[in-house]
Amino acid sequence: MIFRAVEDADLIRQATRGGVESYNLLVSRYEKRVYNYLLRITGNREDAMDLAQDVFLKAYQNLRKLDDPGRFAPWLYRIAHNEAYSLFRKRRPEVDGETVEPEATDMGISVGATSVFPIELSLAVASALERLSPDQREAVVLKIYQGFKFEEMAEILSCPVSTVKSRLYTALELLKAELAPISPRGVS
């Protein structure tokens, strides 16, 4: 945990009392993370930006409903998840709301632009992620890229921890097979 002079919980308390600047500080701490989460599950920069705006707006409007300020991050990502799936439903209204899935094309991820890794590796990773199901990919994004615990992921995705683990571990097995295959003499 990174030490912060003012904790999120304090900012949330100030924001609920009308402290817009406190909320702005809170937004600045989370906007990049939330944007990248949305980018990786929508695969579209404009959608991710629009959704991020809506997420922080909705979060502010509902800040008083947050019972435990210490659970702000999963609560915020829960809003982000819902907003993203709401967009998917709007785009594909003929599909049932529970089964709707984001389009599994164009991950919208910048590959190798400022990376210290070889571009071939980044391309291989993007390709491997695209082959996952949207649920599996979201589990990988929340765990590997966003660093949430299983319980928090279950809260965000509104499903049991066992489901979260199942999605994540299936995804990790697929990714491992592609990105770290077993060589005849051990790990490649």
């Binding site: 404009e46 980044s122 990105l179 770290a180 490649s188």
Partner: protein, 187 residues
């Protein structure tokens, strides 16, 4: 299948309790297969981290409560200008439009910009008149100065001549008084 007392993936992702973590660590020290499995997990995670987070194209900020309802046009506007490609295209389009407007409306000479030809002719005529008037005024002044100068010189010459005449008369009177001149009748 792993022979670890707990799931190695739980261990790798730090989802075990401290005692469980220690048990797995102890097991892995003596188990090459589990070490290899952990190494593959580490490589997979390292590969996944080759995809870096992107910078958010536009900062999100809230100013005050009344603006918290983003209108459709505002969101469209924000999204439009948030795109570097669109911004570049719009800039290029504005530059092109400015060049076209400039080329269509430009006339030679800054004073004639935006005027009809009649107005331009009229202004030229007025400018010529003003120039001629200035020239005439200068000429008149010069002639006047020359006339004044000639008059002064003439007056000076007259004064000089008067003074010379007076001097001659004075000399003649003096000669008469001294008797140097004898009239022919007295001879």
């Amino acid at each position: 299948m792993s022979c670890s007392p707990f799931d190695l993936r739980d261990y790798y992702l730090k989802e075990l309790t401290d005692p469980q973590q220690r048990q797995v660590e102890s097991h892995v020290k003596d188990c090459p297969a589990c070490r290899e499995e952990l190494e593959r997990l580490r490589l997979t995670q390292a590969a996944l981290f080759s995809l870096r987070d992107e910078e958010i194209p536009q900062r999100i900020a809230f100013v005050s409560d009344p603006v918290f309802e983003p209108s459709g046009p505002r969101r469209w506007w924000t999204a439009f200008w948030g795109s570097p490609g669109r911004l570049g295209f719009a800039s290029a389009a504005m530059l092109s439009a400015a060049l076209l407007i400039s080329a269509a409306t430009r006339t030679f000479g800054p004073a004639s910009a935006g005027l009809s030809s009649t107005e331009v002719d009229h202004r030229i005529e007025r400018a010529i008149d003003a120039s001629e008037a200035r020239q005439t005024s200068k000429t008149t002044q010069l002639v006047h100065e020359l006339a004044q100068k000639a008059d002064t010189e003439h007056q000076l010459r007259l004064v000089a001549e008067s003074e010379a005449e007076y001097a001659r008369k004075q000399a003649y009177s003096a000669e008469l008084k001294s008797g140097e001149y004898v009239t022919p009748a007295s001879n």
